[in-house]
């Protein structure tokens, strides 16, 4: 696959104080560091090790990941929405790369 691409599913709007469900998925092989190539050499570990979801600058949920998280890591969690704003999602790769995306939500 090309550059890891995040996908995020957030409702477009919520009632004030509503607890919503957020789903995220990112394309990434999550190379565990346990596998060997055809020549028998260990393939070096390269995983996404940290995921963070922020809302208007405050952390809502985060996750430290180990190599036992499946390829194309999926994360589903909740968030309580009291005001309109922007969710920011960040994935940090072992190689230092950071993948980000944002979603806005309105409150009625």
């Amino acid at each position: 696959m090309a550059e890891p691409k995040p996908r995020v599913k957030v409702p477009k709007k919520a009632a004030a104080g509503e607890v919503i469900t957020i789903k995220t998925l990112i394309s990434h092989p999550m190379e565990s560091g346990q596998r060997k190539d055809k020549q028998g050499n260990l393939i070096p570990r390269q995983i996404i090790n940290k995921f963070t979801c922020e809302f208007n600058g405050q952390v809502v949920f985060s996750c430290d990941m180990d190599p036992a998280v499946s390829a194309n890591p999926y994360m589903e969690f909740s968030a309580k929405v009291n005001e309109p704003g922007t969710f920011k999602f960040t994935w940090v790769d072992d190689d230092g790369s950071v993948y980000e995306t944002e979603k806005k939500i309105t409150v009625e």
């Binding site: 696959m1 090309a2 691409k5 996908r7 599913k9 789903k23 998925l25 394309s27 390829a71």
Partner: protein
């Protein structure tokens, strides 16, 4: 020990006389509705001359968790490849400075149902073409780009994207074009020919023993309406010819190259065997 032998014998007898429906490895009674909106026809009456009465998608042979994964287009990891495929469709490549979209401007209309009608007779090549071969012909002739190597990531992603545009549309192969009927016959012969050290034909597992266990796994009818398929084992898309080669390898036979005449004939025949089943690409399997 004697008791154990007897129990094994009893179990053995039960398995031999059991019909597929009565065994735990058989298809489950469930409906595939994607995102609660699009119902997929996963059980359809077989076409005339088919050895089965009913055709059943491999989806019915999977656990609830795997079935749920396919029913949620957000959670389905295969959708990552659909999105990547759409990017490739719109990306210029090759000396002619074209993308797929340069010629096929209205992708939505052009691609709707297209993937469900392959493999198709290609007059110029004098053989059936699947989506992968069609992409490569376009790349070489119209884009002046290098053809994709078998199972290149971009080939799998673009094929997945194209097939996905026929999601929920019935698979149908037109045997009246060119020499398709001859290729169908050749494919049928291969389907029933035992091969390899284990002396297995496609039909051994997928016609005679579908609905039974193979080790801890369930044998399906071997339908191809979900390819390319996201396999949990590889955590990636698996192409149809990769799956063909894997099956043949497991019989301990030498396996033919992807897109060879043998495997193209097999694709024509096996696709026909699933006539009427809706396209599920990207299906999710174990």
């Amino acid at each position: 020990m004697a008791n154990r032998t007897k129990r094994i014998a009893t179990m053995f007898a039960a398995m031999m006389v059991g019909t597929s429906a009565s065994l735990a490895g058989g298809p489950v009674d469930d409906k595939l509705v994607i995102d609660g909106e699009l119902e997929i026809n996963t059980r359809v009456p077989a076409p005339e001359g088919h050895p089965f009465d009913e055709l059943i998608s491999g989806w019915h042979y999977r656990t609830p968790e795997t079935r749920d994964l396919e029913a949620d287009s957000f959670q389905n990891p295969g959708m990552l490849y659909v999105e990547r495929g759409e990017e490739i469709w719109n990306t210029v490549d090759g000396a002619a400075g074209k993308s797929c979209a340069s010629c096929h401007e209205d992708a939505e209309t052009f691609l709707k149902g297209l993937g469900a009608s392959y493999p198709k007779w290609n007059e110029e090549a004098g053989k059936p073409f699947n989506i992968e071969l069609q992409i490569n012909q376009c790349r070489e002739q119209n884009m002046q780009a290098e053809p994709y190597k078998f199972d290149a990531d971009d080939q799998k992603a673009l094929t997945t994207y194209i097939k996905h545009q026929s999601l929920g549309m019935p698979m149908h192969v037109d045997l009246s074009e060119g020499e398709m009927q001859d290729w169908w016959e050749k494919g049928k012969e291969l389907y029933y020919t035992r091969t390899g050290q284990l002396n297995l034909a496609c039909a051994t597992c997928h016609e005679n023993y579908n609905g039974n266990y193979i080790r801890a796994d369930h044998l399906s009818q071997g339908n191809v309406n979900g390819f390319p398929t996201y396999r949990l084992k590889q955590s990636a898309m698996v192409s149809l010819h990769n799956r063909f080669r894997g099956c043949i390898r497991d019989t301990r036979a030498a396996f033919p190259p992807a897109f060879s005449d043998d495997l193209m004939a097999l694709e024509v025949y096996v696709t026909w065997r699933g006539t009427g089943l809706d396209i599920e690409t990207p299906a999710v399997r174990q």
